[in-house]
Point group: C2
Chain length 239, copies 2
C-alpha cells in the first residue's frame, strides 16, 4: 500500500530506465485531479503533460452545438498532452478528469527538451502524425454524430484535397466500404448532391462541380481536420 503517491504508479514512468526516471523525477509535481477538472481546453497551448496515477482522463471533442464524443481515455498507463512532444502544442480536443484521483505533471519545457535533440525529419514526421491523429479523432466524432450525407461530403472533400483536378475515380460500392455504410445509402446521398448540381456521377467517375457547395453541406469535422493540417504542417501543406 503506497499511501504517499509515487510517480511509479504511472506505468509509463515506471518502465523508464532508472537513469532517465531519476532525471525527470525532481521535475515531477504531484497534482490532485478532481472529477470534472479540465486539464486542457481545445486549442489552448498546453503547459504541462500529465501522468495519471489513480485518476482517469477523457479526451473529448466538444462540437459546436455542445454535443461531445470521447476520443480516447487515458489512465495510469499513459500520458495526457502528447501534442506537446509531438510538436503541435495544442489539439482540438479537451481533456477532462473522468475519475477523480492523483497524478503527476511535468512542465512542457521538460518533455520538449527530451525531443529537442532530434533532427528535422523526426519533427516533421511527428507533426504529421499529430495531424493524422486529428483526422482519426474527427472520424470517430463524425461517425457518432453526423448524417450519411454530411459524411459523404466530408469524404469527397478530403479526397479532393488530395488530388489534382476535380474528378475522382471511385465506385459507390467502394465509398460505402470506406464510410462503413450501405452502398444504397451512398447512392441516395450522391443523387441528392447531383440534383443540387454539386457533383456529376457516372459509373465510377465523380466530378465535383461545386466545391463550396459541398463545404456548405458537410459538418464541422472537415474544417477541423483541414485547419489542423494547415496549422501543423508548414509551408502550405494543407489537407
Amino acid at each position: 500500500m503506497s499511501n504517499a503517491p509515487s510517480p511509479l504508479q504511472n506505468r509509463l514512468l515506471a518502465v523508464l530506465p532508472e537513469i532517465e526516471f531519476e532525471r525527470l523525477k525532481p521535475q515531477l509535481e504531484a497534482v490532485d485531479m478532481p472529477l470534472g477538472h479540465v486539464l486542457y481546453e481545445s486549442g489552448r497551448t498546453l503547459s504541462h503533460v500529465y501522468f495519471p496515477t489513480t485518476s482517469i482522463v477523457s479526451l473529448l471533442y466538444v462540437m459546436e452545438n455542445g454535443a461531445s464524443a470521447e476520443i480516447a481515455v487515458v489512465g495510469n498507463e499513459g500520458v495526457v498532452g502528447i501534442a506537446l512532444f509531438m510538436g503541435g502544442e495544442s489539439t482540438p480536443s479537451r481533456a477532462v478528469v473522468q475519475s477523480a484521483g492523483q497524478g503527476f505533471r511535468l512542465r512542457g519545457q521538460a518533455i520538449k527538451e527530451v525531443f529537442s535533440r532530434s533532427g528535422p525529419v523526426m519533427h516533421l514526421m511527428l507533426r504529421y502524425t499529430q495531424a493524422l491523429i486529428t483526422q482519426m479523432a474527427q472520424t470517430a466524432v463524425c461517425n457518432r454524430h453526423h448524417s450519411l450525407d454530411q459524411q459523404l461530403c466530408r469524404w469527397l472533400l478530403l479526397s479532393l484535397d488530395r488530388l489534382q483536378g476535380n474528378e475522382l475515380v471511385m465506385t459507390q460500392e467502394l465509398i460505402a466500404n470506406m464510410l462503413g455504410v450501405r452502398r444504397e445509402g451512398v447512392t441516395e446521398g450522391a443523387l441528392k448532391l447531383q440534383a443540387a448540381g454539386l457533383i456529376r456521377y457516372a459509373r465510377g467517375h465523380i466530378t465535383v462541380l461545386d466545391r463550396v457547395g459541398l463545404e456548405a453541406r458537410t459538418c464541422e469535422c472537415y474544417a477541423v481536420v483541414r485547419k489542423e493540417y494547415g496549422r501543423l504542417l508548414p509551408d502550405r501543406i494543407a489537407t
Copy 2:
C-alpha cells in the same frame, strides 16, 4: 508539368530541409500504386513507408465479419506506415490504395535510423502514442458499427482497466456524454447489464460484478485495443 514523377510532389518530402532531403533521396524508390493495392495488411510487419504523390491511400479497419471502416486517408500531404517510426512496426489496420497513382517508398530501416538517435524516453512516448492512436481508431470503428450496448461494455471495461478495484463513480449522464449518446440509452443499457447480473448501479456508483460477462457482451474493439496496449508497452503495461 512534371512528367517524370518527383519525390517533391509529396509535400512532406518537399518541406524537408534540403540537406535532409538529399540524404534521403537516393533511397527513395518510385512505385506505382494501382487501385486496390494493399500496401500493408493488418498486423503485418511493415517493410517500407510510402510517400504518395499522385495516389490516395485509405487506412481501413476490417472487422471480423468483413465489414470495414476507414480510419483515415493519406495523400501527397502525408506518409503511410507511421507505425514504423513510431516503433510499433505494425498496426491493426490495413492500407489500401483508394485512388491509383504514384508514390515513393523508403525502406523501413532508413526511416528508423532517423529516429534511432533518440533516447528511451522518446521511444516510450512514441510507442504509447501509437497505442493511443489505436484506441482512437477503434473508437471510430466502434461508433460506426456497434450497438450502444456493446459500446457501453467496452467503455466500462476500458475504464475498469484503468482503476484499482471494481467500482467506478460515474453517472449515466456523464457516460452518455462520453459515448456521445442519450442518457436514456445508457439507462437502458445499464439496466440490461444489471438484469444479467454483470453490474450493480446506484446513483452514480457502478460496481462491476462480472468482468468476464462484460467482455463477452462487448465487441471486438475492446480486445483490439487491449492487445495493442499490451504489445506496444513493455513490462506488463496493459490497457
